[in-house]
C-alpha cells in the first residue's frame, strides 16, 4: 500500500533537472507527497502542519547538490526534522535511589500493558535487576490471571495478593512491601486499561501515583493508533505526568506515526518498542530508525545490525575468499541458508528493508522458513563429494537425495539449478552477501527463493 516516499519524490523532482535551487514552486509537489506520507503514517495533522512549515523553511534556497538528488536532499531534511521531534538518542529507564523502584504501567484498553509488563520484567532481569510484577487490574475479566500466567512464562516473581485484597491501592501497597521485604529492586504495576476521559479511573491512577511514588510512569500506546493518539497521551500526561512511552505492536506494518505525535505533545521520550508476540520481543527505541520507518523507508540499520549479530564474521571472511576464488560449494550454500535462518523470522527482516530499487520486489516475496529447511535437508542428504562438486549429481543420485530428504526429484533439480545461478551471481559481485557492504548489495528479485517450488 505504501509506496516508498523517496520513489514518489523522485517522480516529483524529475522536472527539476537543470534548476539550481529548491524553491517554493518546485517544492510544492514534494511537500504534498511528504504531507501525504506523514498523514498516512498517522502522524497527527497538527504536527504534520508544523513539520511541513519547518521543512519548507529549511529546504528553501538549498542548492541542488550534484551528489544527492533533490529527492534525497529533501528526504534528508525531513528525516532530520523527524529526529528532532523524536529525540536524537536512546532514553534509559530511571531507577530510585532506594529500592524498590516502582514503575506504573498505564494506557488505554488493549494497548498491550499486560504483555509489555511481562516483557519488561524479563528485560529487566536480563539486565541485572530483580523485578516483581503485580496486577492491579481488578476490572477486566481474567486480567490478573493473565499476568500470573505471563509471569510464570517469563520466570519472574508475581505478587498475587491475598483474597481479601480487592482494591488496586491495597494490592499495590502490599506488593511494594513484599518486594522490599524480598529484596526486589523494581516493582512493575500493571494497571487496568482505561479511557483518558474516565474521570473515576483516572483519579484512581492519581491515587496510585501518590501512594507509590513511582520513578517511571510508562504510557503504553498501540503503534496502530490514529489521530487520537495525541489526545489520550496528552490527557494521561496532564493527569499523571508520564515519564516515558512504550510503543507496542511495531511488528506489524503500522508505520507508527503515533510515536511522533505522542512525543511531540508530551515531550516525553519513547523508551521501548514491542516487536513481537514472544516475551523477548521488546527493544529499546531508536529514534533515527523510527524516522525512516515513518517515511516508509524501512529500517536498514536494524537489519544490518541483526545480520551482523547472526553472521559469523570468520565464516564471512572465508566465504568472501571462496566467492572470489569461485570455490563456492553446496556446503557453503547450506551454511548460508542456515545463517539466513538464524536471522529470525524472515518477514520481519523484509519489513526492515527499504522498498527501493531492486529490493522493491522483495515485499511481495512470501518467505516460508520451511523452504529454507527443505533446502538444508536436501543438501544434508548429499554425500560430501556431491556437495563439493554438484556436477556429479546424476539421475540416480538425485533420486536418492530426494528420498533421503523427503522431497521430490524436481525439488532437488530446482535446488541445483538455483545453486548454479547463485554461484554465477555471487561471482559477479565483489564483497558479497556476507561482507559489510549490505548497502550496496544487489540481489535479483526474490533471491534466493525465486525459483523454489511450493510458492
Amino acid at each position: 500500500m505504501f509506496d516508498n516516499l523517496s520513489e514518489k519524490l523522485q517522480r516529483v523532482f524529475k522536472s527539476l533537472r537543470g534548476e539550481g535551487k529548491l524553491s517554493a514552486e518546485n517544492m510544492e509537489g514534494a511537500l504534498r507527497e511528504i504531507r501525504m506520507a506523514l498523514l498516512e503514517a498517522d502522524v497527527n495533522f497538527k504536527v504534520v502542519k508544523q513539520l511541513i512549515e519547518n521543512i519548507k523553511v529549511k529546504a528553501m534556497g538549498e542548492e541542488v547538490l550534484t551528489a544527492l538528488s533533490p529527492a534525497q536532499q529533501v528526504i534528508k531534511i525531513v528525516h532530520e526534522e523527524l529526529i528532532k521531534i523524536l529525540g536524537s538518542h536512546e532514553s534509559k529507564l530511571r531507577f530510585a535511589n532506594e529500592p524498590p523502584s516502582v514503575f506504573l504501567i498505564v494506557g488505554l484498553q488493549g494497548s498491550g500493558k499486560t504483555t509489555s509488563a511481562g516483557k519488561l520484567a524479563r528485560w529487566l532481569s536480563r539486565n541485572g535487576h530483580r523485578p516483581m510484577l503485580v496486577s492491579v487490574d481488578v476490572y477486566r475479566p481474567a486480567a490478573r490471571e493473565q499476568l500470573k500466567v505471563i509471569a510464570r512464562e517469563v520466570g519472574q516473581t508475581l505478587y498475587e495478593g491475598a483474597p481479601e485484597e480487592t482494591q488496586p491501592l491495597e494490592l499495590a501497597r502490599s506488593a511494594r512491601r513484599e518486594s522490599a521485604n524480598t529484596g526486589r529492586d523494581v516493582l512493575l504495576v500493571d494497571t487496568a486499561g482505561r479511557l483518558h476521559i474516565d474521570d473515576q479511573l483516572m483519579t484512581e491512577l492519581q491515587q496510585l501515583k501518590e501512594q507509590l511514588n513511582p520513578v517511571e510512569i510508562l504510557f503504553v500506546a498501540d503503534a496502530m493508533t490514529g489521530q487520537d493518539a495525541v489526545k489520550s497521551a496528552d490527557e494521561f500526561h496532564k493527569r499523571l505526568g508520564i515519564t516515558g512511552v512504550i510503543l507496542t505492536k511495531m511488528d506489524g506494518d503500522a508505520r507508527g506515526g503515533a510515536a511522533l505525535s505522542i512525543r511531540h505533545v508530551t515531550g516525553q521520550p519513547l523508551k521501548f518498542i514491542g516487536v513481537g508476540e514472544k516475551f523477548d520481543a521488546l527493544e529499546p527505541f531508536h529514534p533515527d530508525r523510527a524516522a525512516s520507518r515513518i517515511l516508509g523507508m524501512g529500517d536498514m540499520l536494524s537489519f544490518i545490525e541483526k545480520a551482523e549479530e547472526a553472521i559469523d564474521k570468520k565464516k564471512a571472511v572465508e566465504m568472501q575468499r571462496k566467492l572470489i576464488e569461485n570455490d563456492f560449494t553446496l556446503e557453503d550454500f547450506r551454511d548460508q541458508m542456515r545463517q539466513i535462518r538464524k536471522l529470525g523470522p524472515l518477514e520481519s527482516l523484509l519489513g526492515m528493508m527499504p522498498k527501493v530499487g531492486i529490493l522493491k520486489d522483495l515485499k511481495d516475496v512470501k518467505v516460508d522458513e520451511k523452504e529454507i529447511n527443505r533446502v538444508v535437508a536436501i543438501i544434508d542428504s548429499m554425500t560430501p563429494r556431491e556437495r563439493d562438486n554438484h556436477m556429479i549429481v546424476n539421475g540416480s543420485r538425485r533420486r536418492r537425495i530426494a528420498k533421503g530428504s523427503g522431497t521430490s526429484v524436481q525439488e532437488v533439480n530446482q535446488l541445483l539449478k538455483q545453486y548454479a545461478q547463485a554461484k554465477k551471481m555471487m561471482k559477479s559481485f565483489s564483497g558479497g552477501f556476507m561482507g559489510r557492504k549490505l548497502g550496496k548489495m544487489k540481489l535479483p528479485a526474490g533471491f534466493p527463493f525465486g525459483d523454489l517450488p511450493g510458492r
Binding site: G110, Y139, R140, P141, Q227, D228, K249, A258
Partner: protein, 316 residues
C-alpha cells in the same frame, strides 16, 4: 427453519439515544469541529476547504477519502449547486452517509442453525469483550449460544471468555491452552450442531495482519468450519479498535483476503475515539459495519445502521 444471522431486525426504541451518547465524543470531534470551521463563513474559499480537510483527517477518515469528499465539494461549488458555506455541512453529511450505505449489506441467511460466527482481529482490538456482549445480545433475544475458546495462545484468554460466558449464560467449549485452534473450533461447531444451538461464536487469538503463518491458521479455521457445516462460517467479524488509524485499512484488507471478512465491529467508540477509519474501509473495501461498541457493559454493543449513525453524529 430460516433465520437471519442476527435474529430479529427490530430496533430497540432507545437505540438512537444510546448511539447518540456513545458517539458523543466522535460528534464533538468531527461535527462540532466542522461547525466551528463553518462558523461565520459565508463563502467557500481555499482557507475554509483547508480547515475542512484538517477536520476530516483528524477524524481518521484518511487522506484519500478526504480528498474525494473535498473534490465533490469543489465540483458543487463550480457548478454553483453550492453557493455558501451553510450548505456544506449537509453536503458532507450526505457524502458520509452515501459511503457508509453503499457498503451496507444484510447478513447471510442461515438455512440451518447453528450460525457460525468467527471473530478475528489484531491484538487488543476487543475481540473477547465483543463476543461477550454479542452472546448477551443473542441470549436476550432468546437464542441459544455456544462460545468457542479458540484463542489458545494468549495467557488467560480462555478464562476471560469463560467469565463472559457465565454472565451471558452461554456454555464455553474449550481445550487446554496451546491446543490447535481448529480442533477447538471443530469440537464446538459439532457440539452446537448436535445440540441444535442457534449460534456458535468463535473467539480467535489476536494477530497482526502481517504474520503469514498466523493468517494461514485463520484460513485453516474457516476451512474446518466449512467441513462441519457447508457455508460456515456464516459471518466473519473483524473487530477494529475505533482509535485505529490508517493501518485499519491494511487490517481490513489482509483479514478479508485470508479469512473472508463479512463485516466490521467498531469497538471502543466511546472515549474520544474517532472511528473515521470505517468510512475509509467502507469506501475502499466495501465492507459493512455490523456493530459498534460504546461502553464496557454487555448492552453497550449496538447494531450499526448508517442512517442512524450519521444522524446521531450530526444531530444533537
Amino acid at each position: 427453519m430460516i433465520q437471519t444471522l442476527f435474529g430479529s431486525v427490530e430496533q430497540e426504541p432507545s437505540l438512537l439515544e444510546r448511539l447518540k451518547s456513545g458517539v458523543e465524543k466522535t460528534r464533538a470531534g468531527l461535527v462540532s469541529a466542522l461547525e466551528d470551521a463553518l462558523q461565520g463563513k459565508k463563502e467557500i474559499d481555499a482557507e475554509l476547504l483547508d480547515e475542512l480537510e484538517s477536520t476530516l483527517i483528524a477524524a481518521d477518515i484518511g487522506v484519500r477519502t478526504t480528498d474525494e469528499i473535498l473534490e465533490r465539494i469543489r465540483q458543487s461549488v463550480e457548478r454553483r449547486q453550492l453557493g455558501d458555506a451553510a450548505g456544506l455541512k449537509g453536503l458532507i453529511r450526505e457524502q458520509l452517509l452515501e459511503i457508509l450505505q453503499a457498503s451496507e449489506r444484510a447478513p447471510a441467511r442461515v438455512a440451518e442453525p447453528p450460525a457460525v460466527i468467527l471473530v478475528v482481529g489484531v491484538n487488543g482490538s476487543g475481540k473477547t469483550t465483543t463476543i461477550g456482549k454479542l452472546a448477551q445480545r443473542f441470549r436476550n433475544e432468546g437464542r441459544s449460544v455456544l462460545l468457542c475458546a479458540a484463542d489458545t495462545f494468549r495467557a488467560a484468554a480462555i478464562e476471560q471468555l469463560e467469565i463472559w460466558g457465565q454472565r451471558a449464560g452461554a456454555e464455553v467449549i474449550r481445550q487446554p491452552g496451546g491446543s490447535d485452534p481448529s480442533a477447538v473450533l471443530f469440537d464446538a461447531v459439532q457440539a452446537a450442531r448436535a445440540r441444535k444451538m442457534d449460534y456458535v461464536i468463535v473467539d480467535t487469538a489476536g494477530r497482526l495482519q502481517t504474520k503469514e503463518n498466523l493468517m494461514a491458521e485463520l484460513q485453516k479455521m474457516t476451512r474446518t468450519a466449512a467441513k462441519v457445516i457447508p457455508g460456515a462460517p456464516h459471518e466473519v467479524l473483524l473487530v477494529l479498535d475505533a482509535t485505529t488509524g490508517q493501518n485499519g485499512l491494511e487490517q481490513a484488507r489482509k483479514f478479508t483476503e485470508t479469512s473472508g471478512v463479512t463485516g466490521i465491529v467498531l469497538a471502543k467508540l466511546d472515549g474520544t475515539a474517532k472511528g473515521g477509519i470505517v468510512v475509509a474501509i467502507a469506501r475502499e473495501l466495501n465492507l459493512p459495519i455490523r456493530y459498534v461498541g460504546v461502553g464496557e457493559k454487555a448492552e453497550d454493543l449496538l447494531p450499526f445502521d448508517a442512517e442512524k449513525f450519521i444522524e446521531s453524529l450530526f444531530e444533537t
